[in-house]
Amino acid sequence: MKPSVEMLIEKYRNNLYVMAFNVCKNAQDAEDVVQDTFIQYWSYKKEFESEQHIRAWLIRVVINKAKNKNNTFFRRNSLPLEDYIQTLTFESEESSELFEAVMNLPEKYRIVIHLFYYEDYSVNEIADILKLTQSNVKVRLSRGRLLLRNTLKEGWEYDK
């Protein structure tokens, strides 16, 4: 199957943007990454097995492109994350603190945490998307949770 890019933009635009922002920590870079990802899909010649396959592919490409963006030497003159956070409207102080705590996690924990808590992927699925072992994903998830707990105290519950 190969749904139209227009349909996928409508469906995944925001989630892919949030994923890209999670990695880039920069709004303009995240928009570039999402745009490049859809262009990649658009020019991709192969068929996909399912909707889940497409979603996982898009997320994997977004993460790879966002990491590449971070590794390029030239980056946009960007708004510092702290200043960017000030431009966001959070529903509560707790949400703002959680967002900041997540964004201050090391990248490898941040990505796994985001895939689990925002995209609702299982450990197995995360391992498949990131091409990591399941135990590696579990370790990153556990360490990320611990860091969040240490920062947010009672604002972050213990998970299994």
């Binding site: 635009r13 262009i39 030497f73 529903e91 703002s96 967002f99 997540v102 808590y117 925002y118």
Partner: protein, 198 residues
């Protein structure tokens, strides 16, 4: 409220800007606007050779698409690379672990009058032949060049590492600033103070 609910609530504040457009027709026309400086271009791969390169004009996306063989992290790899004609390239390949990888880059020359001139395809290929520096998740740092792989993790002094690579008659002097870019050239080490992050 569960952690998932808290997390989603927190990240619901993040949305692309109103100006962000993803209309397909516009996407086709959009030119990438940011480049990284030529001298310190961070390139993901090293080219070993272009073996019977296939040239095809990808009319649907513009630019020239080629299939070439590259050394990527010590593995000889078939890569589909597309030069977009604006100083940038995108490429895709399957890595040694069987994973599809997508990467890209680009560069400009800074003219004396300050103008930026997109690199040509030939110039980009020259940069693709330069060494690559990789930071692994385990904290190790590696320099790759052709089939050479050098662990420089413990070689940094004051955040800078100098690596001399020799292959047949060719020598490459690589200056690496820890997570701050690198420069390579055939004659001498580049002064690490001669470049810096913006």
């Amino acid at each position: 409220m569960t952690n998932k609910e808290k997390y989603k609530k927190a990240f619901s504040a993040v949305r692309p800007s109103d100006e962000f457009t993803l209309e397909v027709e516009k996407m086709k026309k959009i030119k990438k606007q940011h480049f990284f400086k030529t001298m310190v271009a961070s390139i993901a791969v090293c080219v070993l050779f272009m073996a019977s390169a296939t040239v095809a004009y990808a009319m649907d996306v513009g630019g020239i698409q080629r299939t070439i063989q590259l050394w990527i992290h010590g593995d000889c790899t078939n890569v589909t690379i597309q030069f977009d004609g604006d100083g940038t390239y995108n490429m895709e390949y399957t890595d040694a672990d069987g994973n599809e990888q997508f990467t890209g880059g680009g560069g400009v020359e800074i003219a004396p009058d300050g103008r930026t001139i997109p690199l040509s395809e030939e110039e980009l290929m020259e940069h693709l032949m330069m060494p690559d520096v990789t930071y692994e998740d385990d904290g190790s740092v590696w320099v790759y060049w052709f089939d050479q792989k050098v662990d420089i993790t413990d070689k940094f002094v004051d955040g800078v590492c100098y690596v001399k690579l020799v292959k047949d008659e060719e020598t490459m002097y690589v200056t690496v600033k820890y997570k701050g870019g690198y420069a390579a050239g055939p004659h001498k080490f580049t002064d690490p103070d001669s470049w810096g992050c913006e």
